[in-house]
Amino acid sequence: MKAKDRRLAELRDAIPEVSPEEALALSHNGAALLDVRDTDEVAQGSPVGAYRLGRGFLELRIEDMVPDLDRTLLVMCAGGVRSLFAAESLKRLGYKDVRSVGGGFSRWKNQGKPFEIPRILDAEARERYSRHLLMPDVGEAGQLKLLDSKVLLIGAGGLGSPAAYYLAAAGVGTIGLVDHDVVDRSNLQRQILHTDARVGMPKVESARVALEALNPGIEVIGHRTHLDSTNVEEILSGYDVIVDGTDNLATRFLINDACVKLGKPNVHAAVYRFEGQITVFWPTYDKQHGNCYRCMFPEPPPPEFAPSCAEAGVLGVMPGIFGLLQAIEAIKILLDLGDPLVGRMLHYDALSGRFTELKVKKNPHCRYCSEGAVFPGYQDYAQVCASNA
């Protein structure tokens, strides 16, 4: 008898075996079905609802998936042999009731038990996103979610540049950009998406070149237009998160109103000279504290109080820092991770090197986002100048 066969005989004595029928019934009663085959095998099909964890990382990651050592584990491989080795290892780790599914996935499939072709990352994506896969808070499920997500950036300028770069790098599957402008040499002091050779090119095109070079696996959609009351809802409705990087006050109101109406999170930032601020307007996230832009500014200022139309100076890296903070918030929202900046406004002054946080209040009488408010319709305000990003 070969050593392998002797060992298998021992394992068969030690590990109880269940049929696919019994395994299905047990899993309906709370047992965890665990598919320990390799990634390429799982890609051909795996039981519906199974935990999928190859033997390579079995002992290291099983507790993230099944923290309860008293829960019954039903281990499955292709034919019922590797599952015995895996089951023994899990027993040693402290799981009290571990069983092997006899005949493995091939018998499961032949007996007509439910299976699915799971979505998994291919080998290239696994390598590209390996630093995310190492984090339990992101992991494969989170990375797939990002690849399925759509984020709209309004403005491919100072804030939009780093936001777009990092959303693309992180693997957000669809990135939309709204910008009507062309690249100007004075942009290059802070708008890192663009290059000297692309001066004069539409910004959405220049952005597409940069983002596709970084990550060819994502889709970049350019909307070379100005947002107005006729197109705002149509453009925004296709996206999960809206990142407001506009330098135009009238557009800011329009984005706010559409986000409130459509229930979309609006990651808002603005920079000026050596400082900037960021918050997330998202009334439906938190009914009590979630506010909108109009809770703070119900209407645009009259012309005599509007800020000057002259271009304002800004330290080149300021929109960089705030666009990055916007990327952080957008990804957190997509992954439903941590606490978004809802009801909080973060302010950074580069000269003092300090971050401060202010609470922002919901206006209980806001015409747009208060309880029971009837949407008053979109407004095309005349150009109101604001500080540029």
């Binding site: 290239e124 390598e127 590209r128 390996s130 630093r131 995310h132 896969l133 190492l134 984090m135 808070d137 780093p162 770069y165 990092y166 790098a169 992180a170 693997g171 040499r185 004075s186 290059l188 002091q189 802070r190 708008q191 890192i192 663009h194 290059t195 000297d196 070079a213 970084l214 990550n215 060819p216 000279r273 050596f274 271009e311 304002a312 100076g313 800004v314 330290l315 080149g316 890296v317 300021m318 960089g320 820092i321 990055l324 903070l325 990327a327 952080i328 990804i331 957190k332 991770l337 941590g338 606490d339 978004p340 900046l341 973060l346 580069a350 000269l351 003092s352 090197g353 300090r354 971050f355």
Partner: protein, 261 residues
């Protein structure tokens, strides 16, 4: 400055704290940036777009696919090229007028001291402790200001070591050698949330610009930390350790180029 430069830097020149003189100062500045990964990518891009006249970039690695999840200075077309070359091309593409010097090997202690003494600021965007302490040592010895950062998972931190000051703390005062590894894991082992490296690199660029322009208050004696899950920033203060093995007794060497300005 010619017309093209006046146009390129117009948003800086509009700031009274920078103005023409400040932009000229940036164009006349030199920095050494060590590490072209997660922290170095955004730092380099913003230092180049801001018009730092000479940037010496150092990294001995080449670009691999796992880098591109956060290292936005490189592209898929750069895979397996030396990071220094990929970075130089990108920096020249956004600002062709700059001197970008590349060093593609691991610097020896002697070389570190040599380059540190040439530049106004050293930026440590490296990812390991051996390099971090070697850089610290060279900057203490040459009294060169050192901008420093680190990131892992959802956490990041940054500070500035004012080696040009008499009584400034150094990296070894903040994290004595033996405790350092516990304080910060590396992103290779633990993973890292892509934009956290970006934001720390951005803060490092802001610190560098402040040092070069002589405006604002740097992070001297202050460690800034971010927890990205809550998006909360905390600041802790630290001072020089009089028994520090790296920077005690207080510095004797003449200050480097930065102090002379």
């Amino acid at each position: 400055m010619d017309d093209k430069q006046l146009e390129r830097y117009s948003r800086h020149i509009l700031l009274p704290e920078i103005d023409l003189a400040g932009q000229e100062k940036l164009l006349d500045s030199q920095v050494l940036l060590i590490g072209l990964g997660g922290l170095g990518s955004p730092a380099a891009l913003y230092l180049a777009s801001s018009g730092i006249g000479r940037i010496i970039v150092n990294d001995h690695d080449s670009v691999d696919l796992g880098n591109l999840q956060r290292q936005v200075i490189h592209t898929t077309l750069d895979l397996s090229r030396p990071k220094t070359e990929s970075a130089r091309d990108h920096l020249h593409a956004i600002n062709p007028g700059l001197d970008i010097d590349v060093i593609g090997h691991r610097l020896t202690a002697t070389e570190l001291a040599h380059y540190a003494s040439q530049v106004d600021v050293v930026i440590d965007a490296s990812d390991n402790f051996i390099t971090r302490y070697a850089i610290n040592h060279a900057c203490v010895a040459t009294r060169t200001p050192l901008v420093w950062g680190a990131a892992t998972r959802f956490d990041g931190q940054a500070t500035t070591f004012r080696n040009d000051y008499e009584e400034a703390p150094c990296l070894n005062c903040l994290y004595p050698n033996q405790h350092a590894q516990d304080a910060m894991g590396s992103c290779g082992d633990n993973g890292v949330f892509a934009p956290v490296t970006g934001i720390i690199g951005g803060i490092m660029a802001a610190e560098t610009l402040k040092l070069l322009l002589g405006v604002g208050i740097t992070l001297h004696g202050r460690l800034l930390r971010i927890d990205a899950t809550a998006l909360e920033w905390r600041q802790s203060l630290f001072t020089r350790d009089p028994l520090c093995e790296s920077c005690s007794p207080p510095r004797q060497a003449p200050p480097s180029r930065a102090d002379a300005k």
